[in-house]
């Protein structure tokens, strides 16, 4: 019988966010690989299935994370190829800022093995709820912090800017578990090209378990260099300026409105023979 792969998300908070279908996939799998954000959640998975295999052991400081992730993908696909019904459970959403699920599903499909993804509640979802941000209000850009630094970006200061994995900002080696103040200063200097130093920013962390507390530390941009950051800390930069109307486009739209109104208000003419 052919093996299969389902990548599911368990959400951010143990027990609060998992969907019924994700739970069912975990319970009915022959093998569950897990990539959780804390040990409590790993234990929780072990109560749902007798064969849960943590992928945490592949992480190693000094080892390029690209290598780590390829090893994880290999471990998953080896069992799928062996005909097992495999589920890989990720904290949060399995397809957001996670190359493992995407790589594993792509490879499985190339080998004609059934593979799919079930979404989960992500850190981004929790952030909107916890911080009271509606991304539809002013718009919102998301970047992985290092990627934001490595590539030239058009920063829109009238929208929210959210930088993920800020504690690793500037790590080109992909082998560190945190970067120091010197790296972070480069990020702050880059942000200072767009924002004033006294602009208020937010350090956010979602709740992992019921007794945990959400982090919402509001500090000044200039204080970011010395701030305490963890692997799961997210940097939220609210807009520093109001949205500027695009007069050129608004004029074009007004002309279209005018033409449509003219057509609507045109008298009904009848052909009289």
């Amino acid at each position: 019988m052919s093996g299969s792969l389902v990548c599911v998300g368990t959400g951010m908070t143990l027990g609060a966010h998992i969907s019924p279908i994700a739970k069912s996939h975990i319970e009915q799998a022959e093998i569950v690989f897990s990539l959780m954000a804390n040990g409590f959640s790993e234990r929780w998975l072990e109560e749902m299935n007798d064969d849960v295999r943590s992928l945490q052991s592949h992480y190693q400081e000094g080892k390029n994370r690209n290598v780590t992730y390829n090893e994880m993908v290999d471990a998953i696909l080896t069992e799928v190829r062996a005909g097992k019904k495999v589920v890989t459970a990720f904290y949060g959403h399995p397809g957001v800022f996670s190359c493992i699920s995407h790589r594993a599903i792509t490879q499985a499909k190339l080998e004609n093995l059934p593979a799919m993804m079930e979404p989960g509640i992500s850190a981004e979802d929790c952030l909107y709820a916890d911080l009271g941000i509606d991304p539809g209000k002013t718009g919102c850009s998301h970047y992985e912090a290092s990627q934001f630094m490595f590539y030239k970006r058009n920063v829109d200061v009238s929208a929210h800017l959210i930088l993920w994995q800020v504690s690793l900002a500037g790590d080109k080696s992909l082998a560190k578990f945190s970067t120091g103040n010197a790296y972070r200063k480069v990020l702050v200097d880059l942000l200072l090209e767009h924002y004033p130093s006294d602009h208020q920013i937010i350090l956010y962390q979602a709740k992992g378990i019921a007794i945990d507390t959400m982090r919402e530390d509001r500090i000044l941009l200039s204080e970011l260099v010395a701030a305490e950051l963890f692997m799961h800390t997210t940097l939220v930069i609210p807009p520093s300026e109001k949205m500027q109307p695009n007069d050129k486009v608004l004029t074009l739209l007004a002309e279209i409105d005018k033409q449509e109104d003219k057509q609507k208000n045109r008298p009904n003419l009848r052909l009289v023979l």
Binding site: G15, N38, W44, L168, I211
Partner: protein
């Protein structure tokens, strides 16, 4: 209810357990030791980790999915440092 994980799951999924009194009532019925109950009431995660012998060092670094074009470029590149960057 016979263990801490089930208590944590119940607390996170039952809307009636969002205040301390209700949690204390739940804990009196739960089959967990006094120290574990204390850790839950005081929200002491480190103590609860020690009680359950859970490793506190968990890694949750991520790595955005790369696009196919960049992947192809990587295969042609011999520069190890560049490869690690553009794979993001």
């Amino acid at each position: 209810m016979n263990n801490v994980i089930q208590v944590l799951e119940k607390m996170a999924s039952d809307s009636s357990l969002q205040n301390r009194d209700m949690v204390e009532a739940l804990l009196t019925k739960a089959e967990i030791c006094t120290e574990q109950s204390e850790a839950i009431i005081t929200r002491d995660i480190n103590l609860l980790e020690r009680q359950l012998d859970i490793c506190p060092d968990f890694y949750c670094a991520f790595f955005p999915a790369e696009d196919d074009k960049q992947e192809d470029e990587d295969e042609e590149s011999t520069d190890v440092e560049t490869k690690s960057i553009v794979n993001i």
